[in-house]
Subunit: 257 residues, 2 copies
C-alpha cells in the first residue's frame, strides 16, 4: 500500500494532437489523480495567441507539479526579455523554448524528486502556426528534445494512449477535415474514458483552421454536453451493429491441431 | 542501446480468455521477440485433455524462458506422482498447481535473473472444465496467486492488452455465444496486431462448449486464413462507415472559453 503522502499528483491523462492539411485539432481531458482516492480536475491545455499573427496550443501530461512549473515558466517568459512563445520566429524555435523550460525545471527539481523515488515524468504536445509558416505539431519529451508530426505520422498522443489509438489509426489522416478530426478525437477519448478511471471529463477541444491565425474554435465539453453524449451513444450502437453484421466463424469447421 | 546479448526472448504477446454461460474461448498470438531484431514464433497455448472428463487450456505471456519452464514442469508433473492438471479434482486446484509450478521456477531462477537486471515476468490464463464443475477461468500472476473470472468480469487479458480492450468491453458479455466470443476475440486481436509489432500471426483459437468435455474446436489461424482476412477487411470498412454516419460537431458553434 502506497503512503498517500508519498503520491504526487499526476496527470495520467489523455491528450491527442492532430496535424492535417486543413489545420490542427487538440483534445485533452482534465483528470488528475494522486492515487485512486484523490482525484481532481486541471486544465491541461494552454493556448498562446497573437490574433492574426500566431496561435500555439500546448498540452501536458505527467507529474502535475512538473507540468505546472513548465507552463508557469513559459508564461513568465512572455513578461521578460528573451525568447517566449509570443516572440519566437517559428514553431521549431517555439518547441525549443518549451524544451528549455522543461530543462530549467529538471535542473531545479530532478535531484530532489529522485531522493523521493519520483521520476521526472512530463510530456508535452505543442502545435500551432506562426505567420509565414505552415501549421506544425511537435511531441516534446521530458528530456526537452522533440519529434515533429509529418504527413505519414500526422498525430501524437501523450498519457494513456493505447485504448484510443486503434480508432485514430483507422480513421484519421492528413486529408481529414477539422470536423472529422474532432469527431475522431472524441471517439478516441470515449474509448479511453471507458477503460481508464484516471482519464475523466470535462474535455477541452481546440480546432485550428489553417491560416486563420485565430484561436476561435475552442470548446469545453462538460459531462452533460448533448453532442458528446449523443456521439458516445451512437458510436456504441454502431459498433455493436457492425459487429453483429460481420460474418461469424463456423466453429464446426474447426479442426483439432 | 541495449546489448543484444542481454535481451532475453520475451513474449510480449496478446492472449485473451473468455468465460461465458456457453463455455470458454481463448485466443493467443505466437510472436516472441528479443529486441526488434530478433523475432520468433512460439505457441503460447497448451491444452490438457482427458476426453469426456476434463479439458484445460493454458495461455502464457512474459519471459519465454520462464513460461516455457513453467509449462515444462506442468507437463512433467503428469508423468510423476502428485498433483497434475490431469488428476486434480477441480479447477481451483488446477490453478493452484500452475501457481506451484511458477513458484518452483521462481525459486530456481529469480535470483540469477535479478543479477542480470531481468524481472521475473510471467503471467498465465488457465480455463477449463472438470466433470462435476462448471467451466472456470483464472488469471495467474508471476507470484503464483490468481483471480477468477465472474459473470461481471467474464474475461481476462495478458500481455499487450490495452489496444484490444475497448471492443471486448463493448461487445463481450456472459450471455455471448461461443461464435460471438471468437469473433470478438479476433477483432480485439486485429486492433492489437495493427498497433504493436511484437504481437504477430499466426493465431491459436480454442473454443470450448460447456459440458462437451472435449477440445475439438481448435484452430491455427495463419496469415492467409480467408475468414480472418475477410473479417479484418470488413471490420475496417464497417468502422469507417459507422464513423462517417455519426453526427459531426458544428465547429462554427464553438465559442472561445
Amino acid at each position: 500500500m502506497l503512503d498517500p503522502f508519498s503520491i504526487e499528483e499526476s496527470i495520467v491523462t489523455y491528450c491527442v494532437g492532430m496535424l492535417m492539411d486543413a489545420g490542427l485539432a487538440f483534445l485533452s481531458d482534465t483528470r488528475t489523480n494522486a492515487g485512486v482516492d484523490q482525484i481532481n480536475s486541471f486544465r491541461k491545455m494552454s493556448v498562446f495567441e497573437n490574433p492574426g499573427e500566431r496561435v500555439l496550443t500546448l498540452l501536458s501530461a505527467g507529474n502535475l507539479a512538473i507540468t505546472q512549473a513548465v507552463v508557469s515558466l513559459i508564461k513568465d517568459s512572455q513578461l521578460k526579455e528573451g525568447a517566449s512563445l509570443l516572440n519566437v520566429s517559428d514553431m521549431f524555435a517555439a518547441a525549443r523554448h518549451v524544451g528549455d523550460c522543461i530543462r530549467d525545471v529538471h535542473r531545479r527539481d530532478a535531484v530532489s524528486l529522485k531522493a523521493f523515488g519520483i521520476d521526472f515524468n512530463a510530456s508535452f504536445l505543442l502545435g500551432g502556426q506562426i505567420k509565414g509558416e505552415a501549421p506544425r505539431l511537435f511531441s516534446i519529451y521530458a528530456a526537452g528534445n522533440f519529434v515533429e508530426a509529418t504527413v505519414d505520422t500526422p498525430y501524437f498522443q501523450i498519457g494513456e494512449s493505447k485504448y484510443g489509438k486503434p480508432i485514430l489509426d483507422r480513421i484519421f489522416h492528413w486529408d481529414s477535415t477539422l470536423e472529422e478530426a474532432a469527431k475522431c478525437a472524441l471517439i478516441s477519448m470515449d474509448s479511453t474514458l471507458k477503460s481508464n478511471l484516471s482519464v475523466g471529463m470535462p474535455l477541452d477541444l481546440m480546432c485550428y483552421r489553417r491560416d486563420s491565425l485565430r484561436a476561435d474554435q475552442r470548446l469545453r465539453i462538460e459531462a452533460d454536453n448533448p453532442y458528446f453524449k449523443s456521439l458516445r451513444t451512437a458510436w456504441g450502437e454502431r459498433i455493436k451493429q457492425a459487429f453483429r453484421e460481420l460474418p461469424g466463424l463456423d466453429l464446426e469447421q474447426c479442426v483439432t491441431k
